[in-house]
Amino acid sequence: MNKEQFLKSLDKSLKRLSSDERREIIQDFEEHFAFGLEEGKTEEEIAASLGSPNQIAKELLASHHMEKVEATASTGNIFRAVWAVIGLGFFNLVIVLGPFIALAGVAFAGWATGIAFIVSPLLVLVNAVIYPETFALFDLFLSIMLSGLGLFIAIGMFFATRGLSSGFVRYLQFNVKLVKGGMKHD
């Protein structure tokens, strides 16, 4: 691989980054090539000792996505960070994706239940309009009670979702450290 191929391949793998950041990174590597050439190495030798552009891009992307998640924990960001961490190693597929799917499933089920409860009086009323003969006050009161219960569930889910996502971000950070082989004990 020569310099141009190396830089092109690296640049292509870094599409997700802002153009400023990409330029800086490419500049670092251009500088590296320039000094290597000055020392009399060939472009191919330099590219070979740099290693795979893909691997370099993976490392850059993983730490980039972690920063974004720390700054703003939006769903999209968390999702992208999950993918970036998975990209670090297939080994991680199970330990990252597994808990993520489980947590997302629990959160989804909670919200679905809450929302269904809240709108249940509406369903009773709709039913009463379509089949007036089946209308029973008991159904209406029961559904109003469910609606109240649903409100509590929704409020609970709001805090639970927040707690779950911040807990998961911490789990991701732990994972990046683990994959990167951090020797810290914390």
Binding site: D28, H32, A34, E38, L50, P53, Q55, G181
Partner: protein, 107 residues
């Protein structure tokens, strides 16, 4: 040597090389790759990460003939981190050496 294990150690190497003087990227990479076998490209993500964490600042300086050099300078925070890491490394390597010696003398 194990790749992940090496990465943790590379951090200490970079920090300690910057303790006494500022250096530019290529120089850092060469200093380390002279002694330890690494894929040189992975040093740049490491340098970027440590810079973003506030352990280095960077500045450009023209060099005679060549391209401008991007220099890395250790911050106060970086220096504290280096001392922490060195302490941990010393304890760790002492323990490993001790285990090795015990292992050898038992043979």
């Amino acid at each position: 040597m194990n790749v992940q294990f090496k990465k943790g150690i590379l951090e200490i190497c970079v920090l300690v090389l910057l303790d006494k003087q500022d250096r530019y990227g290529y120089e850092l990479v060469q200093k380390i790759s002279d002694k330890i076998e690494i894929s040189e490209g992975s040093m740049y993500p490491l340098l970027r990460r440590l810079t973003k964490e506030g352990y280095f600042t960077t500045y450009f300086q023209e060099s005679t003939g060549g391209p401008a050099r991007k220099y890395y300078k250790l911050t106060e925070q970086g220096r504290n981190y280096l001392h922490e890491q060195m302490q941990e490394w010393k304890e760790f390597s002492r323990a490993v050496n001790q285990l090795i010696e015990e292992g050898v003398s038992n043979e």
